[in-house]
């Protein structure tokens, strides 16, 4: 009986929320899986900006795929779904341009304001007719990692690519390899099937095997925070802690602890929270008040987190700012 009441109350709340949402800007945000630590940060940023939208009678709806197996087509489907659901504005990453460009073009053709974020760069925004790009430049992020490690004297690097085909991940690895080679080192790519992304055991085992086969490698770059932890675990399992130095994209509590302890050299931060927050804010202010941001390409990274500034960053995490 109590359960029925609770369910009924939930239903009333849900219906109520939908009814109110009909007035302000209904913004749809396409992003990663909600259980992906990096994307949960982006989602929080989008939802925090959504508080303003909700206070004006709008809403923010997060659409993410359930896995990354079929990333480009799945994301393209979500973009079209947002159009079908009557979005007033859409935010989306341009992960796989071949698959997703037609869907983004349909958004613009339908007269719906669009902001590209996280992947694709200002080039994608210009090509597709989007208002702006909010995010880090993937190539520069990878480059920063390669440069950091090469300058520290670790000159044989491998980039762990667990999402083959995703344009931004390819750019991370290309940037990393260029950052390595242009600072006197050499770079290579360890390519894994897409199922490995987020599967820490698979990534760790692959890294371990790769390091044992290629004993000269002394630097590694991982493309996400889960992959970074898995890579460090692979380095430990190969018995190479201290001789193989790891940098990775993004960070979380355990990565910051690893940087403090010295088991991880650096983290490249693209500040996902900022990406969700500013993309939604730009669109909400535009749809509600017609306001614009003339600055094109809102950069949110790269920033290097290493032993030198990790304590400040941890303080920032505790304050909820990073």
């Amino acid at each position: 009986m109590k359960l029925t009441k609770a369910v009924a109350a939930a239903a009333v709340l849900a219906i109520g929320a939908t009814a109110v949402g009909a007035e302000g800007a209904n913004i749809f945000v396409i992003g990663g899986k909600p259980d992906d630590p990096f994307w949960s940060r982006v989602k929080k940023g989008a939802e925090d900006a959504g508080v303003v939208a909700e206070s004006q009678g709008g809403s923010v709806t997060w659409l993410g795929p359930q896995n990354y197996d079929n990333l480009g087509p799945d994301a393209a489907e979500l973009i079209r779904q947002a159009i079908d659901q009557g979005a007033d504005a859409i935010v989306g990453p341009n992960w796989v341009p071949e698959a997703m460009d037609p869907a983004f073009e349909a958004v613009v053709a339908a007269g719906i304001p669009l902001v590209i974020y996280n992947a694709g760069g200002i080039e994608a925004a210009d090509r597709l007719g989007a208002m702006n790009y909010v995010g880090a430049v993937d190539y520069k992020s990878g480059y920063a990692g390669g440069e950091y490690l090469a300058e520290a004297g670790h000159t044989n690097g491998a980039c762990v690519n667990t999402l083959p085909g995703a344009a931004n991940i390819e750019a991370f690895c290309n940037g990393f390899n260029d950052g390595m080679t242009e600072n006197g080192g050499t770079g290579s790519v360890l390519q894994l099937p897409a199922t490995a992304f987020g599967d820490s055991t698979a990534v760790a085992q692959a890294v371990r095997a790769h390091l044992l086969q290629n004993p000269d490698i002394n630097a590694m770059f991982a493309i996400g925070d889960q992959d970074t932890n898995a890579t460090i675990s692979g380095v430990q399992q190969a018995g190479k802690t201290g001789s193989v130095h790891v940098c990775g994209m993004n960070f979380n509590d355990s990565i910051l602890a690893n940087i403090q302890q010295g088991t991880q050299a650096c983290a490249i931060d693209q500040q996902g929270y900022q990406q969700g927050f500013f993309a939604v804010s730009i669109l909400n202010n535009h749809v509600t008040y017609g306001a614009t941001i003339p600055t094109r390409e809102i950069l949110t990274g790269p920033g290097v987190v290493d032993a030198g500034n990790v304590d400040l960053v941890i303080a920032g995490v505790e304050a909820g700012a990073r």
Partner: protein, 346 residues
């Protein structure tokens, strides 16, 4: 009359579909009109539904095929490598994708009839094997794990267009065509009776003169080829293909077959049931996006609703069958109720 209707294998899956819709509308606050207009769930239903049809037939015959997960990306990559990377005419890409499906299906089928290894293990081996072949082959031939493809207009309009200028993919039409074809095979032709008989007892089926081995190989060819067909359509629609594992597709397709009322043990099921099962599964999966529920809960809700859909299906079938048999006065119901329900023509 009513009991007759209720005893149809598809009736239970239709009821669970209605249950799922009711849940989303009442609890989730879904705007039914918006949901019906949206293409996402229908596109998804077609993607898994085309593969679910032959997989359902295979499961009715008492076997299973999980290599389908690798065959969807394999079909997509074959198309993109042949017609995208090597720029050969589109028709070669299409035939290549279907050919890869036939080869892998034949391997599965021949291993299934020649060895005593369970088909779950055989197709697990080909699943993992094909994942390796696709990744290694793609890197070897193109140097990349993602291959762009520009399909000509005719191929786009047959396999990869969006219909009515909106978001509905043309694979939906293919799904319906396949469903009608499979309905005819399973419920109107002698092959259907053979498949049910194989799911009941292979030895007796063989003794009754049914070419069990040939049918098994044929069913495996159908599952693998339909999966590579879906992959091919996707590559043409999305102008690209990428290497992936397809692990989720396996569970989603088999789950939708089970939601559609096919017994995991074989011997019972129907094509209308499998069709509705794919629809139900797709609505469970995509409908969550139309609710006001926080996305963090979506997997929990999908899990609970799947369980509820199958449980409803099962208990409803038991009730329907017992009511049906109980009402019969003539002592003709000695035959197991399961076989009666399954072999009727629909």
């Amino acid at each position: 009359m009513i009991s007759n209707l209720l005893r149809r294998p598809a009736a239970a899956s239709v009821l669970s579909l209605l249950g799922v819709l009711a849940f989303y509308v009442i609890i989730g606050g879904v705007d039914l009109g918006k949901l019906m207009n949206a293409a996402s769930w229908l596109n998804y239903a077609a993607r898994i539904g085309i593969v679910a049809l032959p997989v359902g037939l295979l499961m009715i015959s008492g076997e299973i095929d999980i290599s389908i997960g690798a065959m969807i990306p394999a079909g997509a990559m074959t198309t993109a490598i042949i017609s995208g990377h090597y720029e050969l005419p589109m028709i070669f890409g299409i035939l290549g994708a279907l050919g890869v499906g036939m080869i892998v299906g034949t391997i599965n089928g021949v291993l299934a009839v020649r060895t005593n290894v369970p088909t779950l293990i055989i197709t697990l081996a080909t699943l993992v094997g094909m994942q390796g072949v696709v990744l290694a082959g793609s890197k070897l031939l193109t140097g990349s794990a993602s291959v762009p493809l520009t399909a000509p207009g005719w191929a786009k309009s047959i396999f990869g267009q969006l219909m009515f200028g909106g978001s509905h993919q043309v694979v939906i039409v293919w799904w319906i065509i396949f469903a009608v074809a499979f309905w005819f095979v399973l419920h109107q032709s002698r092959y259907g009776n053979w498949i049910f008989a194989m799911g009941g007892d292979k030895e007796s089926a063989r003794n009754a003169g049914i070419p069990v081995n040939r049918m098994t190989v044929l069913l495996f060819v159908l599952t693998a080829t339909s999966a590579s067909f879906v992959g091919m359509c996707h590559a043409i629609l999305f102008n690209s293909a990428q290497v992936s594992g397809g692990m989720n597709d396996i569970f989603n397709i088999i789950a939708s077959v089970v939601v559609g009322g096919v017994l995991l043990a074989g011997g019972f099921g129907s094509v209308p049931g499998i069709f509705v099962g794919a629809l139900t599964f797709a609505i469970v999966n995509k409908g969550i996006d139309f609710t006001a529920i926080d996305r963090n809960w979506s997997n929990l809700i999908i899990g609970v609703m799947l369980l509820a859909a199958v449980a409803m299906n099962e208990s409803f079938r038991n009730v329907a069958l017992s009511v049906a048999t109980g009402k019969r006065i003539k002592p003709k119901q000695d035959a197991p109720a399961r076989a009666t329900g399954g072999q009727e023509a629909h």
